[in-house]
């Protein structure tokens, strides 16, 4: 029995068309949920928080897209970190490239969020105790267990596969499996759009789902992934759902400065909405669509 996990990682695929890179500008973006603009109306936007991305920022594999109003051509990790930065512009952004298998470092102060827009696949059928992790994944799992950081994990793009289960190719994302019973991991699936009560969303056809595992259902959120601003260069995938949750966590952390990662995680999960989703069910949507507006609001006021 092979006890060692090969450090395979699968980058999620995107639909892309060759285009011309343009200059960069920053404005509030139409692809964001309307709740982000409401939450931005006053106040802080993620200061004193740190979001760490484990992703590709060095390879020659690049993609065209547009998140900030101008078309860019850059690696997967540049896209995911940019997406979170646009939601929480005052958060500190760190990126650990895939070439670095060392432990993920956290900031010593303020809320830490770790964004994982990747998977660790191996043949379906192993149990977790048959596997060992590199320092990088091992550190993240440790943070999720101890509550040292909010862990925003892309659920995966295996067309309706339940988190923790094997896909149609006989492969399982064991990183998902290892994070299921942790304190602060959130699995993030993709909706086909940002839902509202008058225009409800559905699960994106490529997105993984929560499944029948009740523990996963309690830790599963969905967000709208609309691909960005460029009609010819769309960036789809749960890779771009996880950074939204990472950004939301940072905004929450800058408002509730005494809250720890577990409290931030629970707040995002507990305030998710089901009324913005067509035919909501926990097997598909877990807790529902993340709502930054509700996560920022009080329980009661007088």
């Amino acid at each position: 029995m092979d006890r060692h996990m090969k450090p395979l990682r699968i980058l999620f695929t995107f639909t892309l068309i060759i285009g011309q890179p343009l200059a960069i500008s920053q404005t509030l973006q139409p692809w964001m949920s309307p709740e982000v603009s409401n939450a931005w109306s006053a106040g802080y936007k993620g200061q004193n928080t740190t979001i760490t991305f484990v992703d590709d920022i060095q390879s020659n594999t690049k993609y065209y897209g547009n998140f900030n109003g101008t078309r860019q051509y850059q690696q997967h990790g540049k896209w995911t970190s940019e997406e979170s930065n646009l939601i929480a512009p005052s958060a500190t952004i760190q990126v650990q490239d895939f070439s670095n298998n060392g432990s993920v470092s956290l900031a010593s102060r303020g809320l830490n969020v770790v964004n994982l827009s990747y998977a660790m696949y191996a043949r379906t059928g192993y149990s977790l105790n048959q596997l060992s992790w590199a320092n990088r994944e091992g550190s993240v799992i440790s943070y999720a267990n101890s509550g040292a950081a909010v862990i925003s994990k892309a659920a995966g793009n295996d067309y309706g596969t339940a988190v923790g289960k094997g896909n149609g190719q006989g492969q399982t994302d064991y990183f998902n499996t290892a994070l299921i019973n942790t304190r602060t991991a959130i699995f993030v699936g993709a909706l086909n759009k940002n839902g509202t009560t008058s225009s409800k969303a559905n699960i994106a056809n490529y997105s993984n789902v929560a499944g029948s595992n009740a523990t996963v259902q309690q830790k599963f959120l969905v967000v709208g992934v609309t691909g960005g601003n460029d009609a010819n260069n769309k960036l789809y995938g749960t890779s771009f759902a996880a950074p939204v949750i990472s950004g939301y966590a940072a905004v929450l952390g800058s408002k509730f400065t005494s809250a720890n990662a577990t409290q931030i995680t629970n707040q995002l999960l507990n305030t998710a909405r089901t009324d913005t989703i067509n035919n909501y069910n926990a097997n598909t949507y877990g807790r529902g669509e993340a709502s930054l507006t509700r996560a920022l609001a009080p329980v009661s006021i007088r």
Binding site: W40, A42, K255, Q267, A297, P298, V299
Partner: protein, 196 residues
């Protein structure tokens, strides 16, 4: 002869009960002859400022809507009455008061208004007036809310209007309104020309 205002009648009635009844004799009566009502107004800039927020609101974390209307609607709208008493052919004294207003989350204090007006007739059809007034009191003070943020933040004092914003609750308190009337000290210079 100009009729006395109800407030003067009440004042004279009260004064006539004691040793001051003579004050309601001819000199005061003449003084009131020289007094004119120059302003009666319901509402003020501060009142209007808070009225702007009545249509606002937000949702609680469970989606229950919270509207601001009940917090920012007063039981009685601030009302001001002002008089001018001419004490000299060219000089008048301006005086008056406002009632203030109270709502659950703000109050406008009652106020007194005092001032002087000088009028100089340049010729038969034109005149120059200089008026100065001060308002004593009338301050707007907004109150904080007590918000329960649950496990993530506990109970905190917060600006009611910003309880669901991205701002730290303690940081929102600096945005509570606490200000004087915008016209608490004014000087007017007016030129009047009458057309024949």
């Amino acid at each position: 002869m100009k009729p006395l205002s109800p407030s003067v009648l009440v004042l004279c009635a009260l004064l006539s009960l004691g040793q001051y009844k003579s004050i309601c004799a001819a000199p005061l009566f003449d003084l009131w002859e020289a007094t004119s009502l120059i302003e009666i107004k319901q509402g003020s800039e501060l009142s209007n400022k808070m009225g702007f927020y009545r249509s606002g609101g937000f949702e609680l974390s469970n989606g229950v809507p919270v509207g601001f209307r009940s917090w920012y609607t007063p039981t009685f709208v601030d009302t001001r009455i002002s008089y001018m008493t001419q004490i000299h052919p060219k000089v008048g004294v301006i005086w008056g008061f406002s009632t203030g207003e109270n709502a659950p989350k703000y109050a406008v204090d009652p106020s007194l208004k005092v001032g002087l007006v000088f009028r100089h007739e340049i010729d038969k059809t034109s005149a120059l007036s200089l008026k100065g007034t001060s308002i004593i009191g009338g301050r707007l003070r907004e109150s904080a809310c007590s918000a329960n943020y649950g496990d993530i933040g506990g109970v905190q004092q917060v600006n009611c209007r910003m309880a669901a914003s991205t701002m730290q609750p303690s940081q929102t308190l600096q945005y509570l309104y606490n200000e004087k009337p915008f016209n608490y000290n004014t000087i007017w210079l007016q030129y009047t020309k009458n057309f024949n």
